[in-house]
Structures are given as C-alpha cells and as structure tokens.
C-alpha cells in the first residue's frame, strides 16, 4: 500500500474500560478488572476505499470506531489522520478534524433534536462549522436533501415524522453537510427492512463515488459487508484476526473464526439444511482474558500452542493478513 494512499493509520491502539467495583471489592483489595475493548489494533484506511469492520456484539468494533474518531481517549498507540498525529489532540485541536471525520449511526433518531425541524438541524450544523454564510444556507440545505433522495417537504418536518429509512437518509445528509473526507458508518442498515437497506446501501455507494469518501463500515451482516466493501477486517474480542480484500476474505478466508462467521449465515438454499450449528456458546467475556489466542476455546482447529501463545498477524498473500498458529509453522517447531 503506497504511503500517499493512506488516509488513516492506526498503530497498536488500545482502549480499556475499568469495570465498576463493588465496595466489598475495594475493601478486600481485589484486583481491578478491565474490559479490554480495543486490544492492540493496527490497520490502515486508504483514501477512497470502503473498509468494513465485521464481528459480533461485544467484539469492540463500536469502541474502536469511537476511539478512532476521538470520542474516547486512547490508552496506548497512535492514530494518524492524513499523516497528522491526532492521538492525544485536545478539544480545540480536534475541531479542525471534526469536519473531516463524521459518523453515521444505527439509530439516527437519538442524535436528531426532536424539537427542531430538519432544516433547522442542518442550518445549525452548517453555521456552527462555518461551511457557508447565512445567505447560502438555504441553497446548501436543498442540495443536501436532494442528494440523499428526500423530498423538499422533508425540511419542514420534525424527526419523529419519518420512517427508519428516511431518518437514516437524514443522518447521512447531516454527516455530509460538513464536506467530510471520512465517514464511520456504525451499523447504518441493521435496523432497516431489506428493501430499504438496499436503497441506503446504494445511496452510500453513490455518495462515496461522488464525494470521494473513505468509509469505515461497521456491521455484523456478512452479506451486506461483502456487497459494499473493498476490504474487510474481522474482529474478535478486541483484536483483528484477519484482514484482506472482500474477495480474499469471502473466497479464501484463512482464520477459523472468519470461517465460522461466513458459514453461520443461513443458507439461501432450502435444500441445504444442517442439524448442527457452526459453533456453540457465546464469545467469552472481554474482562477475564486468558493467555493465548482469544478464540482457542471455541476453535475447531485449536492445538496446544493456541492456549499459550498469542498468534501474530502475518501477511499470507499480498494485502491478506491473518493471526493464526495454523499458518505459522516455524513458531510451532520452536514450541515443540
């Protein structure tokens, strides 16, 4: 990956959250527990690409997104935005970046002021970030609402008057208003019906082309991810286990967890039904993490070394990385 292509460079990022302690724990001096939500993540997001982050609930993908956009302060590691180190920027330093990095959420309703009309919500945003002058605001608002495929009448309405898909369009318009370079879309279509989902996905693809955006697309739906992504990163318990292009991941996945995710999705062929689920149980808690690979207890291919040593991320083919002992023979030889 050429350096000039990279927009966001994350190096060894950590974000832990302390677990609330009961008073008895404090008195008895029990060790402090932490949720290791983001545990040494390194990845890059290129200009003009859609990178998807896929994983199940609790794997840390939302925490990672929020740390990346500096809603949380990282504990360790670095975040570079267009080669600028924004890891520990103060609030005033981040304001320049706030226009460049925007976020679209699963439920846009919670971030739209229910007592403001749509046009007022946009106007407030445009004027606050000084995107245009007061006289230009009207034109810009009309442009925005058209770009996301909503009628002009939408501007006079309140957020509660819209359906889920329409609110999501408003959420996207809100993010676009400040002319960002980078958008994090956190499960933007998960709550939508399948035909509305298709509309929003097509809208995102079109806007990405028109505006030359980079998008970090977070989802647990593998079919959606396959459709929309250039590259895919698979996350499990705070770590990235595999990363590659969409075709690398879907056509020749490497990591056993990736295989589980892909094969768990219900088959669209009714003749192909099986009795046993791909995997049993839940992911273990991100609080008491045992040594070794995070996935070893549930992995079909686990061997001795998996329970002792954490596997390293290795480039298996150009651009396709995987952290799994299966592919690291020399390590195993040493272990034996």
């Amino acid at each position: 990956m050429k350096d000039q292509d990279v927009l966001i460079d994350v190096k060894n990022l950590y974000k832990y959250f302390p677990v609330k302690r009961k008073i008895t724990d404090v008195i008895l001096n029990k060790p402090k527990k932490t949720v290791k939500a983001v545990d040494n993540i390194s990845l890059q997001i290129k200009k003009n690409e859609i990178l998807s982050l896929v994983g199940e609930s609790g794997c840390g993908k939302s925490s990672f997104a929020r740390t990346l956009i500096r809603l949380y302060e990282p504990d360790r590691g670095y975040i570079f935005y267009d080669k600028n180190d924004i890891t520990h920027n103060a609030r005033y330093q981040m304001s320049a970046y706030r226009k460049k990095m925007q976020m679209v959420f699963q439920d846009p309703y919670s971030l739209l002021n229910p007592r403001m009309k749509v046009k007022d919500i946009f106007e407030e945003e445009l004027l606050f970030h000084k995107i245009c002058t007061k006289s230009e605001v009207n034109e810009k608002i009309h442009e925005l609402i058209e770009k996301v495929g909503l009628p002009e009448t939408a501007l006079e309405r309140y957020p509660s008057e819209f359906s889920g898909g329409q609110r999501q369009r408003i959420g996207i318009a809100r993010a676009l208003a400040v002319n960002p370079e980078f958008i994090i879309a956190d499960e933007p279509v998960s709550a939508l019906d399948v035909s509305i989902q298709a509309q929003i996905l097509n809208l995102l693809l079109k806007l990405q082309k028109d505006y030359g955006l980079s998008i970090l697309f977070i989802s647990h739906d593998l079919r959606v991810v396959n459709y929309i992504s250039d590259r895919v990163a698979v996350m499990y318990l705070g770590k990235i286990v595999e990363i590659g292009t969409a075709s690398q991941i879907y056509e020749h996945y490497l990591h056993p967890y990736t295989e589980v995710l892909l094969k768990s999705a219900p088959n669209l062929d009714p003749r192909k039904r099986s009795d046993k689920p791909m995997i049993e149980g839940n992911p273990p808690s991100p609080i008491d993490i045992l040594p070794g690979c995070r996935f070893c207890k549930r992995c079909h291919d686990a061997q001795g070394i998996c329970f002792e040593v954490e596997p390293k991320m290795v480039e298996m083919e150009p651009g396709h990385f995987c952290a799994c002992h299966k592919y690291q023979q020399e390590e195993e030889a040493l272990y034996k």
Partner: protein, 333 residues
C-alpha cells in the same frame, strides 16, 4: 376443522385499528391453514401485518383492535368466540409464543424458574417435580449449568441465552403450536444459527407446529416448509419453500429477493424496490403494490387482484400471475 390434518385454519381475517377518525387496515382478508407438524413462515417488511396476524391467533391484540371479519379455528375451537377462561386454557398450553426481544417479553422481576412455573398452573405437580422439570427445560434448550441459572433473572443472561430461556419458558407449557415472532432478528449470526437449529430440533422431537414470522429469507430457507409473503396486510404469494425460492411469481417477492445483497455469485447490483409501503389508513383501492410494481397497469390500480392458484399449492395475488414465468429464482430445481 375443514381438514383433520390441520392444526390451524384462518379464513378471511381482517384486523383494523382506529386512528385519527380513520381505520388502519392492518390485516386484509388473510386466509391460510397449517398442517400439524409443519413450519409456516410469514415473511414481509415492517408494517405488513405479519405480527398482527400472529397475535390475532392468540387473541393478544390490544383492546383497540377490531376484527370486523374472519374466523380462526384452532383444533376445532373457534378462537374468536372463546371467553377469557377458555382462552387461558389455550394460551401457553396449546399455543405458545416467543418474541423478538426477551428483555421486554420476559418478566424482569421474576426468576426464570418462577416464569417456568407459571406455565405449570393447572397441572398437579409437587415442588420437587416442578423444579426438576424447570431444570430439564433449561438443559433441553442448551443452557449450561441449568441448576444455578434457573434461579437467575433475565438480566443475568446474555442475548442468545435469553432467547433460549424464553424458548424454554414457552415450551414448558408443552404447546402444540408455537408462534415465533422474529425470534432471531436481534441476534448475532452465530447465535441465530444456534437458535434456528434448536427450534428445528425441538419441533421434530416434540412434534410441534411452528408459525414463524420474519423478514429474513435466509431464516425462512432454513426453517420453513411453507411460506406466505405479506404486503400491506395482504398475503401476496404463498407456496412451499422450495417452490417459492425456485419460482417466485409475485413482483413483490421478486423485489425482496433482489434486495438481498450477494444473493448469487455474480456481482449484480442490488435492486432496491423504489418508493415505500403505502399508508395503512389510505390503502389504494386496487393492488397495494401497484405504485412500486414494474409491471403495473391501469387495471392494477383500479381493482384488487384475487389470489390465483398458479400451480397446485402455489398462489399469487396478481392480475398477471404469469408475468414472472421466466424469472430465475434463488435456486434451480
């Protein structure tokens, strides 16, 4: 029952909700039957009437709901004519229900054990027998350490476990018909896989019939024997699962199929159905799908299409039931 093999027969069901001086027509002339031991899926998007239909079967609709027409027959009993006492005998014991969100469906201030015990009301059981049965139910649905967990509260369970607990509670009443309203929608894909396989296994072992409501055609594919596709309160297509997936005939069904990302290997662009569902207070007098249908004609806007039997057991509510004869479905038989 019209057919002794059937467990449930619904004829011309209409459900309406008064709203701002008009009536929301949530269910419009829905008719179907379920054979004993089958899984029937109702698939459609939000607001199509699938949940309302299911709740009507158990008389769980809100007090404002009106049922101006229709007949629901469960094992020779006219559901709509039953009084409260008779309904109580059926709910939970004959017909059970599981919902999308266990956190809101289950009682947060009762232990799982107590909620299972509620299903035992009317059965003569000692305290020991009740506890043993409750533990057995949790074990049956795959909850580890059932002895301890049976005394816990819903909030102490994780997502997938809560869903299993809800299934255990529903099954404790030993229902013959289980209504499952979007049971996997909020779950991670691996947990969804587990719940689908669990429900299939339970159905086989207990000889249950299942009425499944979902918007996910993948879940339909893995669980259902027959499928009814709903739109704006109407059933627009009905067939056995294989036939529906191989030869869908209604344009809305086709729209649903084409909106599935990555439905086949070739990179076909996602076809979103343009527009949105009609408002239920102002349903058009003709076909409800007319405005969004690529094959729409004036006749479609003027008159409501009937259900046509295209081939034995395969129905489509369309004036032009052969319009998709050449359409390649999700599978080739």
């Amino acid at each position: 029952m019209k057919n002794p093999e059937n467990i449930l027969e619904v004829e011309d069901l209409h459900v309406e909700f008064p709203y701002k001086r008009k009536n929301l027509k949530a269910v419009n002339g829905v008719s179907f039957s379920m054979k004993k031991g089958e899984t029937l899926g109702f698939v459609g998007e939000s607001g199509c009437g699938k949940s309302t239909t299911a709740k009507a079967v158990m008389r769980l609709l809100s007090e404002t709901a009106q049922i101006p027409e229709g007949k629901i027959t469960y094992m020779d009993q006219d559901i709509l004519a039953l009084n409260a006492e008779e309904l109580r005998k059926i709910r939970g014991k004959e017909i059970g229900m599981i919902f999308q969100d266990p956190m809101t469906a289950l009682n947060p201030v009762l232990t799982i054990r107590e909620q299972i015990y509620e299903q035992f009301i009317g059965r003569k059981m000692t305290k020991k027998e009740k506890e043993a049965e409750a533990i057995r139910m949790l074990e049956y649905v795959g909850i580890p350490d059932p002895k301890a967990r049976v005394r816990e509260y819903v909030y102490q369970f994780s997502g997938g476990m809560r869903q299993r607990a809800m299934i255990a509670i529903a099954l404790a009443g030993k229902p013959k018909l289980l209504i499952a309203d979007e049971p996997t929608t909020a779950l991670d894909v691996t947990i969804q896989d587990q719940v689908i396989k669990l429900l299939n296994r339970l159905k086989e072992e207990l000889g249950m019939s299942v009425l499944l409501i979902t918007h996910d055609l993948g879940v339909v594919s893995q669980m259902c024997d027959h499928v009814a596709v709903m739109y704006a309160g109407y059933i627009v297509e009905y067939a056995d699962t294989l036939t529906l997936f191989a030869r869908p005939r209604h344009p809305y069904t086709r729209g649903l199929i084409e909106a599935i990302p990555g439905r086949n290997k070739n990179e076909q662009p996602l076809q979103a159905i343009p527009g949105s569902t009609p408002s239920l207070e102002d349903l058009p007098k003709g076909c409800a799908f007319a405005d969004r249908c690529p094959y729409c004609t004036d006749r479609c806007r003027q008159s409501l299409p009937e259900m046509w039997e295209i081939e034995p057991g395969h129905f489509s509510r369309c004036h032009f039931p052969h319009v998709l004869d050449d359409y390649q479905g999700l599978i080739t038989l």
